[in-house]
Amino acid sequence: MSDSEFTCPQNREEVINTYFMEHRAKLIDVAAYLDRLDRARPVGDETDFRDVAFRNAIAILTDGESQRARRILDLLSDHSTEIPQSAEGMKGALGAPLVAATEGGEA
């Protein structure tokens, strides 16, 4: 990165000093959530599309590329192009697109 791309006023050590504990806690929360899912009895043999999307999103965290937040939000977005007539009978937003389970989360 060039100097002009270092747009955070803090240097790396300061960012870590400021935010490490907060994100350490969030990281353990994610791990504990996955452990909780392991301990929970499955319902049928369907994988939940939200769970598939969640695990695909985790892979983005460690792929070494930047813009992780944008790419995770992109992964969790509905990329369909059709526009239904009415919202009658539709559920509210659930946080992940239904296609994630059937297409292995590639979106």
Binding site: P9, R70, S77, P84
Partner: protein, 266 residues
């Protein structure tokens, strides 16, 4: 310090909230018309709501030295029945004459349906006809990116200048497209969905301070009417200058909202 919360639903908040916001430096709020958490049974319900927004809330806010402005519309969640929505839209022109109304909002989409889009387009036409600014609600979660694009296309098809439109609830995957197309962008500070104060500061570091603001969108759900001053603290903690902080929480809202002659802080 002083700040503006340009998107907050005070009808759902207590008078104590006004007091706390004033203590934290809030000098003005703008309140878009929205969904009340349940569907109203008649257009008359909206008539009463518009009276509350234009007559009652400015007085309640004034007790604490806060200026209260509003935006009127039928929200996308109640716009799925076009016949009903048109009855409500017919009430709006009379209220546009009230002195604290800034424009049409928060219009947009909820589940990205044709019915919602028809009513969105009719309200864009209303803003065009009465030369009003527009405040846009973008859909939640997985529906946001698709909905934001459909909404921007609908506005671009009208004669309304993008500089008179604020697209709200942007996140990392929508902000650059909104700004690139010349619109203003709002970041909503919500505890679980939308953005945190940390991410709002990140977005400013990535996209700069132009045409960006932040708001609490405080309402009847889990939300925080003090989210804007908390984000100011977050930015200060990180070492952002007071000029930058003031720009996104005061200067930018003042510039955008000041395009309406009804927006007066004195």
């Amino acid at each position: 310090m002083r700040y503006i919360d340009p998107h907050i639903h005070m009808v759902s908040r207590t008078t104590d909230d006004y007091q706390r916001m004033a203590q934290a430096g809030c000098i003005a709020v703008t309140e878009p018309a929205f969904w009340a958490g349940f569907d109203r049974s008649s257009a008359q319900g909206f008539y009463d709501y518009y009276r509350q927004l234009t007559e009652y809330e400015p007085k309640r806010a004034a007790q604490f030295g806060i200026k209260h402005f509003t935006w009127l519309c039928i929200n996308p969640k109640e716009a799925d029945d076009p016949g009903f929505a048109r009855e409500v839209i017919a009430l709006i022109p009379d209220f546009l004459e009230k002195e604290t109304v800034l424009g049409i909002g928060e219009i947009g989409l909820n589940k990205n349906t044709k019915n919602e889009l028809i009513i969105l387009e009719e309200q864009i036409a209303l803003a065009e006809k009465y030369n009003q600014m527009v405040l846009v609600h973008t859909p939640h979660l997985e529906d946001k990116q698709k909905g934001t694009r459909i909404i921007m296309d609908a506005i671009s098809a009208s004669s309304i200048e993008p500089g008179r439109v604020l697209i709200d609830h942007v996140e990392e995957h929508t902000v650059s497209e909104v700004l690139d197309r010349g619109f203003w962008a709002g970041m909503t500070l919500y505890p679980d969905t939308k953005v945190t104060p940390q991410r709002a500061a990140d977005i400013i570091e990535m996209f700069g301070t132009e045409r960006l603001w932040m708001n609490s969108a405080g309402d009847w759900g889990c939300s925080d009417p003090l989210a804007v001053p908390k984000a100011r603290l977050e930015m200060a903690k990180r070492g952002h200058s007071s000029e930058t902080i003031d720009q996104v929480t005061f200067g930018n809202p003042q510039t955008f909202l000041g395009q309406s002659e009804n927006f007066k802080l004195e």
